[in-house]
Symmetry: C2
Subunit: 445 residues, 2 copies
């Protein structure tokens, strides 16, 4: 009759989320959702499982290796989505006639990748993407930056920097240098600057890319440009020798910095960084990365940019777009490191101590009244010793305990105990919710 117990284990790279951690995730997701919605982005969702053909269409070998792919009992070759971009491309190609353009969507959902698990890398994680597609207007690029800015503001960050670049700066320079077809190799070489230094990169540009000495110098000069956006643009301009593509990029970036300043974004939140070069095969215009000034080492926590064509594998209709993705897990790790996460394991503020089971209906009624006034309230489900119930409240992180026995019921009052400082006072039933709300808002201000 007694079977051996099944071992309680999760797969490597997969996680359980306990309440305190899950509440932090939910709060972050809720804020992202709020900000995206406030800009008119609407939610969509797509299946976790798709035909493998849909997901592998554009991906290289690396993605293929990481795919959770299998054959269903019905004989279909399927896989779990490894990002939200490919499903969005399929979705857009399939529904764009119905939804029309421009189309702004956000998509907050789980993706799976069979990567080797390591610190901060998981096989199951959540992505929070937003994009505007069906327009090549640069204003959509600028608004993407505003969304990122307002998102971090709403998350309570004061010190963060959105680094901006535009692909056409380097592309223009490469044209003037006769290296227009070598952009990927040049970017790969320049990317190694922090690792192998100026001389190492110079060698790679000459030996690997085939640049002459003077050209390699120009490229290294370009990569070293820094300063205010105005300074950087002036220096880039002088390197461009009047190249039209490069000058277009400069004009777009000037418009961007003007516009976001007019829109009210503080100048120190946005920087021009000609060295950022993400998604070589994908991004074609503006590029964004976001760094926390107090933790730059964790890397970009929100990245994106403009692409020429989202869904070319699925439809002949060109769908240019621009968007970005919030790095939820990385940001949560950062917030934990910065001490910005709460420790409470309950979403409720008040625990009603259950003193007398025969009065359960009265406890329940008061709890419902508090909830109707916006005060989340839990009722302890058994009449255990007061001390036990208060220990429970402490451990979970409730802010208040409410206590009433027959004396209190007779007088129509409650004992309101502040669990932060142990203070207890008697409050009439009528004033209870306003008294609690006042003290909660004090605590939060």
């Amino acid at each position: 009759m007694t079977q051996p117990l099944i071992k309680t284990q999760t797969l490597s790279g997969f996680r359980d989320f306990l309440p305190a951690e899950m509440m932090a995730r939910e709060a972050l997701v809720a804020t992202a959702r709020d900000v995206y919605r406030s800009y008119g982005f609407s939610p969509i969702d797509t299946p976790a499982l798709e035909y493998s053909e849909v997901l592998t269409g554009k991906s290289g070998e690396e993605s293929e290796k990481q795919l959770y792919r299998f054959t269903t009992k019905g004989g279909r070759d399927v896989a779990l989505r490894f990002d939200l971009t490919v499903p969005f491309a399929r979705f857009a190609a399939q529904h764009i006639g119905q939804i029309g353009t421009p189309f702004r969507r956000y998509h907050i959902a789980t993706v799976w990748r069979g990567e080797r698990p390591q610190r901060g890398r998981y096989r199951e994680f959540m992505q929070c993407d937003f994009d505007t597609i069906g327009t090549d207007s640069h204003l959509a690029d600028i608004e993407t930056l505003l969304v990122i800015h307002d998102l971090f503001g709403r998350l309570g960050f004061e010190r963060f920097t959105i680094r901006v670049n535009h692909r056409q700066l380097l592309n223009g320079l490469l044209e003037t240098l006769g290296l227009a077809d070598k952009s990927t190799a040049v970017l790969r070489a320049l990317d190694k600057l922090p690792k192998i230094g100026r001389e190492g990169v110079q060698r790679e540009l000459i030996e690997g890319v085939g640049a002459i000495d003077a050209t390699a110098d120009r490229l290294l000069e370009f990569a070293a440009i820094s300063g205010t956006p105005g300074e950087v643009l002036a220096q880039v301009e002088s390197l461009l020798d009047g190249n039209g593509r490069g000058l277009d990029g400069i004009a777009l970036l000037r418009q961007l910095f003007d516009c976001v300043a007019t829109a009210g974004v503080p100048a120190d939140r946005v920087a021009l960084d000609v060295s950022i070069a993400r998604g070589l095969d994908y991004y074609t215009g503006t590029i964004y990365e976001t760094f926390l000034d107090d933790l730059p080492g964790i890397g970009s926590v929100c990245s994106g940019g403009r692409y020429d064509n989202l869904a070319g594998l699925f439809t002949k209709q060109p769908l240019p777009g621009v968007g970005a993705s919030l790095g939820l897990d990385r940001l949560l790790a950062a917030m934990e490191e910065l001490g910005r996460l709460g420790a409470s394991a309950t979403p409720a503020d008040v625990l009603v101590v259950l003193f007398d089971e025969s009065r359960a209906g009265d406890y329940f009624r008061m709890a419902r009244e508090l909830r109707a006034d916006g005060v989340a309230t839990e009722v302890y489900p058994q009449a255990r010793a007061l001390k036990k119930q208060l220990q429970y409240a402490d451990r979970k992180g409730f802010r208040f305990a409410l206590i009433a026995g027959s004396d209190e019921f007779a007088q129509g009052v409650w004992q309101l105990k502040d669990l932060a400082n142990g203070e207890q006072r008697q409050v009439g039933s009528e004033e209870l919710s306003s008294s609690i709300r006042d003290r909660l808002s004090e605590g939060r201000s």
Copy 2:
């Protein structure tokens, strides 16, 4: 160079959610989350993929057939979760030492079942469960009912009925009739009453279950009991011949109806229905089903009950509990049928018409001010013809359009167009957000 396009298709039984539909889902989930949290239930999450052994432990052949199960590249036998109960059992066994009891959690997440797709049945769908475990207190059962009641209230339903039963009523009766070991067969027979009628069930009780005529009559008499909770309990009591188990059930139900009345739940929202008998192998005490009075035919939209031991397959620690699950897809289908879903495809209220690209920064600034005041606002990304932009606003379901050209900028005013009735009026920049908020709250009241 030109590859053939990849076919845009989703797997049978899997769905894309477009904005209008997804907003309805998000609103429903947000309300469920709010209500669960207001009662002190905290969120958890578990992996979508688990070791197959964990998921198949208790399930019968039917679940096994429905499982999306495969072997990973690393050789692990894994499957997608088919419900949230089994993962919660594993989770509870693994973490209960850390989280302590009683423990209240909600879990809103996607599950997968390879069932034959049919109307209203999908292979990928969302479950919204809440449970209190680690206590056998009947008060937790009563609070479960309060949660269900307040959830439907918050969803805006006036006309719904929570049907309650307690397993011990029938178990007690079966004891008095000498059929204690036949409860499953008896319930299966009684369940067929609507289909095969009284005589058919009588035959099945006699021929299938082995009851004598008088016993079958008592069972049919039991199944036919109806009336107010007080009337039903009195009739059941008279059938029980003083059976202790049955009388205990009656006492618990009496306490439940008293308590929820005291807590402020209208009497017509809660009914006693001795015929409901869900989850024969699982529920052991209170049972709940929830019906919309205007659409009873769609079945229960929120069901649950008490179980003796959640996690017996994973731990020797007994974990009794009680909870329920909101039927999200069924409820959304019902709300659509009842005309309770909005048609808007945008979460924003206001579209800022882009009249003059050189003033983009000013449009963006005003939009940011409105957002800061809680008015979700989209800026059209290109300076297309006014008519085109207003068509876009109409199609998406924006409530207002904001228009400003050089005259308006010179005067510091905006044209505020109400898209519901076409009315347009001029409003000063300073009064814009309060004017919009006033008109939005009028529209909602």
